[in-house]
Each structure stands twice: as structure tokens, then as C-alpha cells.
């Protein structure tokens, strides 16, 4: 299971530590030496989605996100639901169904988050009042600012956590992942960039200590760059993070082969699939295929076959006839291992396709159509000259290209995309609640 706590904690970064580590604040009021030099360097994301450096001077002016009343209303009604369940449990535990039990534990978890939010919000309000009160003495104001400094990051955390708790989870949030990479426009440079992206995801896995496996990879004949690659990440919950990587990634840089020093633009397509046939999941849930659903081709030379030839061609191509999806794998020397891999990928592609179609249908059914995401839209630009990575979905730019490519700062971008998604979902939810 993905740990929400950790995920949101990583949103607060400490500038003076090496690498990105969740920053825990242990600032206590120590009145003797409360000069600003003792204040750690903390950068937060304010309500306008801007990076703001916290300081004692600006601390009381920081704009924090206000949760919409409709969302808070939903939280309150959930609190009420929990009370009702508690009453029911007190009356008789026999009437308590499995369903009740599940709800009970979900709601209990939620309430911990909600109460934490309420507590921090009260705290925050009190401190602000103190600071803004003209009659208050300066020493006290200073103390209040120090304390505010220590709670703001946790408060932002709790806002985000509460918001994501109120929103529906992605149906495959707990799955592991398959990533497929393919060069797009841009010639050989696109092959090279696709390999760079593959390395980025591998390093990202290493950074997160997620086990991974290269299911397939075809090198470009020149020896640099790749024609395609499939990466499998065997970590449950990785999909909920990595699904935000799906789409077209664009690179702008001067290729090493370019003699005139011109900047080229090329692109890579990234497809992210949930992996559903995990070993630990119930095998009855694994999709089985009817014999007439699949066409399985092995690549063989023409001619007699058998003892006459000794082919090394072990490629397998599986066509799913009802959908026309084709998966080819040729990496293993063993043909049936290629076949197993191809089936795994096929299952993931089918699940993803079904989900996408369902979501599209739901979107069309809604009158208030939200902008739909086209898979051919470019989602991100990597500009090497300017040392920046810009994500176009959330208008966020990271000025640390190396950090992104070596996997250590990719989280900074995904956080922003995730937040944007949560914001949109919250808007939807509010509309739903208000229209009831």
C-alpha cells in the first residue's frame, strides 16, 4: 500500500539537506536565541501554487489554501456517519455486518486525518490573531511567529491529505506498473531521448527502492538510443504515482551529433499501465482468454523448419482479436517466456483501455464537460539549454533538469500534477455536492 503520509510529507523540502528528504520540523520555542539564523530553510507551496521561502517576516502573510465549505460539509457528514456506526456497534455487535466493519475502519482512519486538520486549523487561527493583534507585545508576537513557522508545513500537509481523503481513489491506486516507451517525432535524437527517459524511470525506481525489471528493450542499430522499451515496476501502489507520467514528453536540446549547434525538438511517447496479475493477487481475478480471442504468431523463417534450420528468432506476437491490440515481445531467447511477457502486457493494456473508455463515457454523460486529456497531448518539456523541466498540465517548472533525469527530483513534478488532479476532482465533487 502506498503511504499517503510519506507522499505528502515529501512536499515540504528542506533546502539545506542533500537530496530530497521529508523534512520534519522540530522547532521549539527557544526564546533566548530566536534569531532568524536559527530558522531552517523551508520552501512551501502556497495556495497560488508558488514556491515561497518561509521567513519570520512573511509567515503571517502566506496564503494557504482554503478548503471549500462543501468539502468540509462532506467531512462533517462522514464524522456523523462514524457516530451512527459507533452507536450501532454499542447496541449490538451481532448486527454489525462486514460492510459496516469496513466502513467503520475507513471512517475511523479518515477521522484521525480530519481531527488533525481541525486541530491545526484552530492553532493556526489563534496564532494569526495574536500576530495581527496590535495590542499584543512584540516578544509574544515573535514567539507566535516561531510557532506558526513550525506548524505551517504540517498544516499544508493535512490540508492536502484531507482533500485527497475526501476524493475518490483511482480504481488501480494499489497496483504495480508497466511503462511502455516509444520514440516519437525527431529522428535518432528521439531514440536517444527515449533511452534517457527509460534511465530516468529506472533511477526513480532505485531512488524509491522499488523493484523493477526491463521486460523488453530494442536497441537502435547505432548503439545509442532505443526503438522501444517496456519497464515493469513490481511495487504495489507505484501505479498511482506513475500514471501521471503517461503522455508525450518533449525534449529540446542540441544533439551530440549536431555540428552547427542547433537546438532540436523531439519527442517520446510514454504509456503507463496498471499491472494486474500480481503474484499475490487472487489468481481467479486474472483475466483468462478464450482460445478464439487470441491470435498468437511466432516469427519463423519460411522453409522446412524442424531440424533443417536452427533459428534464434523467438519473437512472439499476440493479437487480441476483439480489440485489435497487438503485443510483440522478442527479448528472451525462450519463446514461451516471450509469450508469458506478452500476455502480461496484453492484460494490462486491456484493463487500461477499459478504464479509459469508462472514464470517457462518464465524462460525456456529464453535462458540464471537463477538458478531456488527449493521449497525444504533450505533457512535459525537457529543455536542456535552460536547465528546466516544465509540466504543461500544471504549469510547473523545475529548474533542475539533472535532478529530474536522475530520478531524485521527479517527485517534485509528480506532486504538482497530482495536486492539480486533486484540485480538479475537488471542484467536481463540490459541484456534485452543491447540485444535490
Amino acid at each position: 500500500m502506498f503511504n499517503n503520509n510519506i507522499r505528502y510529507l515529501t512536499r515540504i523540502y528542506c533546502n539545506n539537506t542533500i537530496g530530497i528528504k521529508p523534512f520534519h520540523l522540530f522547532i521549539r520555542n527557544n526564546s533566548s536565541s530566536s534569531s532568524s539564523t536559527n530558522i531552517p530553510n523551508v520552501i512551501i507551496n502556497d495556495a497560488l501554487n508558488e514556491n515561497v521561502q518561509l521567513s519570520l517576516d512573511n509567515i503571517h502573510q502566506i496564503k494557504l489554501e482554503k478548503l471549500h465549505p462543501a468539502l468540509l460539509q462532506k467531512a462533517d457528514s462522514m464524522k456523523n456517519d462514524l457516530k451512527l456506526l459507533e452507536l450501532k456497534l454499542q447496541e449490538s455487535s451481532i448486527n454489525f455486518s462486514i460492510e459496516d466493519n469496513k466502513n467503520y475502519s475507513n471512517l475511523s482512519n479518515f477521522i484521525v486525518t480530519y481531527n488533525n486538520f481541525i486541530e491545526l486549523r484552530e492553532n493556526y487561527k489563534e496564532l494569526l490573531e495574536m500576530i495581527n493583534n496590535v495590542d499584543e507585545d512584540d516578544q509574544l508576537k515573535h514567539e507566535a511567529k516561531l510557532e506558526l513557522f513550525s506548524i505551517i508545513p504540517s498544516f499544508i500537509n493535512s490540508i492536502n491529505k484531507l482533500k485527497s481523503n475526501l476524493l475518490p481513489k483511482h480504481p488501480f491506486y494499489d497496483k504495480s506498473t508497466i511503462i511502455e516507451l516509444r520514440p516519437g517525432a525527431g529522428g535518432h535524437e528521439a531514440n536517444i531521448f527515449t533511452n534517457d527517459l527509460l534511465n530516468m524511470y529506472i533511477k526513480y525506481c532505485q531512488f524509491n527502492q522499488w523493484p523493477y525489471e526491463i521486460l523488453s528493450k530494442t536497441d537502435h542499430i547505432s548503439g545509442s538510443g532505443i526503438i522501444d522499451a517496456t519497464l515493469q515496476i513490481n511495487y504495489n501502489g507505484s501505479y498511482d504515482r506513475l500514471r501521471h507520467e503517461a503522455g508525450v514528453h518533449r525534449v529540446q536540446r542540441i544533439p551530440t551529433t549536431e555540428t552547427k549547434g542547433r537546438v532540436h525538438t523531439s519527442a517520446s511517447g510514454v504509456v503507463v499501465l496498471p499491472k494486474i496479475d500480481d503474484n499475490n493477487s487472487n489468481s481467479s481475478l486474472i483475466r483468462q482468454f478464450k482460445p478464439d480471442e487470441l491470435k498468437i504468431d511466432v516469427m519463423r523463417a519460411s522453409g522446412a523448419g524442424g531440424q533443417h534450420v536452427n533459428t534464434t528468432e523467438s519473437a512472439v506476437r499476440i493479437t487480441h482479436l476483439p480489440t485489435g491490440i497487438v503485443v510483440s515481445i522478442q527479448d528472451e531467447r525462450s519463446q514461451h517466456k516471450n509469450k508469458d511477457k506478452a500476455l502480461t502486457i496484453l492484460r494490462s493494456r486491456l484493463v487500461e483501455k477499459e478504464l479509459r473508455e469508462r472514464q470517457e463515457k462518464e465524462r460525456n454523460e456529464r453535462t458540464n464537460q471537463v477538458s478531456s486529456v488527449d493521449r497525444s497531448d504533450k505533457i512535459r518539456t525537457y529543455n536542456f539549454q535552460q536547465n528546466r523541466v516544465t509540466d504543461h498540465r500544471c504549469n510547473f517548472t523545475l529548474y533542475d533538469l539533472d535532478g529530474c533525469m536522475n530520478g531524485t527530483k521527479l517527485d517534485l513534478i509528480i506532486d504538482q500534477v497530482e495536486k492539480k488532479e486533486a484540485d480538479n476532482a475537488a471542484l467536481e465533487l463540490i459541484k456534485d455536492i452543491e447540485s444535490k
Binding site: 523448419g305 531440424q307 533443417h308 519463446q335
Partner: protein, 285 residues
């Protein structure tokens, strides 16, 4: 040594796709100081499996050495396919005649747990040694007893045991004997690399082998209730059909996934080997 010069060695003899694929496997499996030599050998059509020294086959990782035929993907295919339908059949002995690397017999021994013993027989010392080595290497995957013995099909050799001469036993004969007739051996039908580097006695053969399998083994030992032979020609199917009584035996042919005739398969009517019908494409009368 840069990659492009290794790859250009391979593209001299093979298509671009094949060259890329094989270079990747060479790099995956051999230490860097052997890459250049490996590519040189390969560009001279030495089989990749002899260069790398192995070939995956079903669950097994088989050693490959010059002097013994390299297991084929077409063979792996029918062995795996038939294992699936034979899973629940109680079998006393599986006799793999002309075992070569041991690929067929050892693979059954790794797939079927209702078998008491698998016998691997070949007339060539290299094959006996290699099969033994392959057995040792894959011991962890083997589910039943395995015996490797030397014998000649034309001497009607059979492992000296009760298994095959007990009438009530339920035994299976499998074989991939040499089946390329002399008239075809030096035509384009046979790959250059095969002819130059693989043993001739593992390739050259025709009707006499199917005749011997039927007359010397199947019909002499009443305990065989099923058989699967690999072959490459319709005349070989006809030979088998001629020799077996259709009152007793049901027979069919199986094509490989490339659509080429690959097996003749038979089972005694009413025997538990009738499950083999599931992998037959056409019954023959």
C-alpha cells in the same frame, strides 16, 4: 571495441534485426572480453547456442556443445503442448529415443509429476555425456527418476527393466530421430549453419528410423500405449501408418505454429493417452 564494429560483424551475415537481437544476448551472457570473438564466430555462421553454450527449453536451461544437435524451438513447442494434456495421465515410463541433449526426456521429467521414470537413450557418447550434464544442471526442476543409457535403435535396444516388458504398464515412446533424407541434406532447405556445424548423424535419416521406432520398440513391447514422433515429411507419416494396425491405434498429425507438418502422434484406442487427440490437427485413418 565499440559496439558499432561488433554489430557490423553480425550484419555482414544476418539481418539488422537479428544482429541487434543476438548482440544483446551475447552481451548479456558473455564477459566483455569474449564479445569480439563471439561476433566473429557468429558471423561465420557458428550457431549462437554453441557460442553461448546454452539454450532455454521449457523450464530448463540446457547446455549446448558441438557434437550434439541444438534443441529446436519447434521441438520445445510440441513438448510443452503435449505436457499440458498429459499432466493428469498416470505413466510408468517415458522413453525418449535419440535423446541428443536430453531436451525432450528431461523436459517431460520437469513437467509431468505422474510419471515414474524417464529414460533417455542415444547411441552417441557425446549425447549421453551431455544429457547427464543437463540432468545435473537442472536437477532442481526434475520431478521424477531419470535414467540415461546408451543404445542403438537398430539393435532394438531397450533399457533393461521391468518397466517396458510389463504388459499392464502404461508407457509412452517419444522421439525426434534424424529425419532429413540424403537428397535434401545439401539443398537450400537446410541452413548453412546447420550443415556446417551440427552433427550429421543427428540430421541424416528417413523412413528407416520410423520403421525401427515402430517395429523394434513399439510393437516389440506391448506396454507402449502412446507415441509422439517429430518428423518433416508426409512420407514418414505414411510409413508409420502402414506399420501400425488401425484397429488398435488411433493416429493423427500435428502441425507446428508455422503451419508445417511436425508430428505423427498415436494412442491405443481406449488408453489414457487418448488425451493426445487434443493436440492433433488431423486424424489419419
Amino acid at each position: 571495441m565499440s559496439k558499432s564494429s561488433l554489430i557490423s560483424l553480425l550484419t555482414k551475415s544476418f539481418s539488422k534485426e537479428q544482429a541487434i537481437r543476438e548482440l544483446k544476448w551475447i552481451k548479456n551472457e558473455l564477459p566483455e572480453n569474449k564479445w569480439l570473438n563471439a561476433c566473429n564466430l557468429r558471423s561465420n555462421y557458428v550457431p549462437l547456442q554453441y557460442i553461448l553454450g546454452n539454450q532455454p527449453f521449457g523450464k530448463l536451461d540446457l547446455i549446448c556443445r558441438e557434437g550434439v544437435l541444438i534443441p529446436r524451438l519447434d521441438t520445445e513447442e510440441w513438448v510443452i503442448e503435449s505436457s499440458k494434456v498429459l499432466k493428469d495421465v498416470k505413466i510408468n515410463g517415458v522413453l525418449d529415443y535419440c535423446t541428443g541433449s536430453g531436451c525432450i526426456g528431461l523436459s517431460y521429467a520437469s513437467e509431468l509429476n505422474q510419471v515414474s521414470i524417464v529414460d533417455c537413450v542415444d547411441f552417441k557418447d557425446d549425447a549421453i555425456i551431455l544429457t547427464n550434464d543437463n540432468y545435473k544442471r537442472n536437477k532442481d526442476s526434475i520431478l521424477c527418476d531419470v535414467r540415461v543409457s546408451k543404445g542403438d535403435l537398430f539393435d532394438s535396444y531397450i533399457p533393461n527393466d521391468q518397466i517396458y516388458n510389463t504388459h499392464t504398464n502404461n508407457n509412452l515412446l517419444v522421439s525426434n530421430p534424424p529425419y532429413i533424407p540424403l537428397k535434401d541434406l545439401h539443398t537450400d532447405e537446410v541452413e548453412k549453419s546447420v550443415l556446417k556445424y551440427e552433427p550429421r548423424e543427428a540430421l541424416l535419416g528417413d523412413l528407416e528410423f520410423y520403421e525401427a521406432l515402430c517395429e523394434n520398440i513399439l510393437l516389440k513391447n506391448n506396454s507402449f500405449n502412446g507415441f509422439i514422433f517429430e518428423l518433416g515429411y508426409n512420407s514418414q507419416v505414411i510409413k508409420v501408418r502402414e506399420l501400425l494396425n488401425p484397429e488398435i491405434w488411433s493416429m493423427g498429425i500435428r502441425n507446428d505454429s508455422n503451419g508445417k507438418l511436425r508430428n505423427v502422434i498415436g494412442w491405443k484406442k481406449q488408453s489414457s493417452f487418448n488425451v493426445l487427440q487434443k493436440i492433433v490437427h488431423k486424424e489419419i485413418l
